[in-house]
């Protein structure tokens, strides 16, 4: 009797335990099988995205996604790293506590709120353009990156910095030869994850970029449409071919995000191994 109960318990435990990992696999299978008809794939190579006219070119949507993510992430990572250096090495205890608390709240703001703020403050100046989208993404990705960078600097670079200070390094030498060398791989790993998050951001971006592609290639001061924005705005009214194109957009987005996430994971593991040696 005990054996039967034990077996049932083991089966229940294993099944329940596998629900979450299996759901991740199912998601990817759904996206891939969603691109159901091979002949539609040809349509995806079209230059324009205009579902009303049967044009489903994803190239410029990919371009817009990467474009907006990079324009947001380059200043975001720069400012975030400097802010993290300030928090870690220069700020007093009280200032650090206040700064971390505000950054913690900022890091958790919902995308809708970031989108609304951009809509109120930046869209009147910049219009419904890719640049407004980049500002919204900047707001979403910089605070979490700053907190991660601060924790990286605290755990990796604090000890070498103390030693270098004793040796009389100047601030710039300290940053260049000690801090960035000790934490570079961790920071690049965090940067990859930040870029992945920026690529996947849909809500805030779709509120401020206009969601149309007028000019090709779309520049910073043109309205834009990202892969994530096309899925979010088009999913409700999409029919067969349009839906296939949205699934294809999902697969491309997933592959881009996964590549960045795996790169981050690989860099993190390598730098950890290096530290152990």
């Amino acid at each position: 009797m005990n054996n039967i109960t034990g077996t049932i318990w083991a089966v229940v435990k294993t099944t329940a335990g596998l629900i979450l990992p299996v759901s991740s696999v199912i998601l990817f299978i759904v996206l891939v099988t969603g691109v159901s008809d091979a002949q539609h794939i040809g349509l995806l190579a079209s230059e324009y995205w205009n579902p009303a006219r049967g044009e489903y070119g994803l190239v410029w949507l990919m371009f817009s996604s990467v474009h907006i993510a990079l324009v947001a992430c380059i200043p975001g990572l720069f400012i975030g790293t400097l802010s993290a250096i300030h928090l870690c090495f220069y700020a007093g205890a009280r200032s650090r506590a206040i700064g971390q608390s505000i950054l913690g709240i900022l890091a958790s703001i919902p995308s809708v709120v970031a989108g609304l703020f951009t809509l109120a403050v930046f869209t009147p100046l910049l219009g419904f353009t890719a640049l407004s989208g980049a500002v919204a993404v900047f707001l979403m990705v910089t605070p979490p990156y700053t907190l991660i960078a601060q924790s990286v600097l605290h755990s990796v670079a604090l000890q070498p910095v103390l030693s270098a200070r004793m040796l009389g390094y100047t601030d710039i030498q300290l940053l260049r030869y000690v801090v960035l060398r000790a934490a570079a791989k961790h920071l690049v790993s965090a940067g990859c994850l930040t870029l992945a998050r920026a690529l996947g951001e849909a809500t805030a971006v779709s509120m401020v970029v206009g969601n149309t592609l007028f000019n090709i290639p779309p520049l910073l001061d043109d309205s834009a449409l990202t892969l994530a924005g096309a899925i979010l705005r088009g999913h409700k009214e999409a029919l067969q071919t349009h839906m296939d194109a949205l699934y294809a957009a999902g697969v491309i987005l997933m592959l881009m995000v996964m590549t960045l996430a795996l790169t981050a994971h690989f860099l993190f593991r390598r730098s950890n191994k290096g530290e152990r040696r």
Binding site: A16, V30, L82, Y90, P110, G200, A261
Partner: protein, 272 residues
Amino acid sequence: MTLRIICATSHWLLLVLGISIGIFMFVNAGDRNWFTFIVAQPLELGLSGGIGPVLVNTAIVVGIALAISVMTAVASITLILSMERSASRIAHHIAALTRGLLSIGASTPRLLVGIGAATVFGNWFGLGITALCGILSLACILGPIMANGLIHALDQQKDRLMPTCIALGLSMSQTWLRYIAPAALPGLLATSIQCVGRGLGDAAALYLTSGTALAILGSIDQPAATLAVYAYSLVLDVAGGIKNAYAAGFVLLILTATLQTPLIYLNKDTST
């Protein structure tokens, strides 16, 4: 000295931006009776009236999704830990694979989980755009995040306490139940609070799965908008809804900031 100034300027720029988000949301929400806004029914597709039913819907959807994700996350962790303790090599591989898949699940954009959930639960299982479909999709988003956070919290304490407990001759179950799990409690609580915040703020997945209906939920097979979805659809789907969207956004911001406050203290506790 110059570097210090540049770093401090970057830092204060971020903080000022953060503070100005709250101020601008409040100012743009307009002069209104906040109590009435929070409890009243939405009128004219949400253009006027309040957000009472939307708040109730949010609590129901996020609450049930959180309960499901806690259960599935605990089941996953139990599986991983039992596999890692087993002598079998295959079991170790399964544990590593499960960990990897959970990490992938946690880093997948919410929108993609939404489109996957809309297809599986909405189309294949026939749930359509309903609160139940939204709850399940939110559980798929929060589950891996919860499981990853819990594993991280337990791993940290395991590395710290396990050698001492083994040296003292304690059994595995004693070590886990009496020492590691209680020590990991702040981390577990922090992950749960973080998940509530994510659930409250999610609009992308729920917009595709749970719908934008503003009436209070009678049963979970009806569509229901959460607060984030309500604010999002007011901006993009309803002409002239921007004022109420700012007010809803401000309430959302206050809710997430309130949730974040205990997290600050919990993080302090775990870092000391």
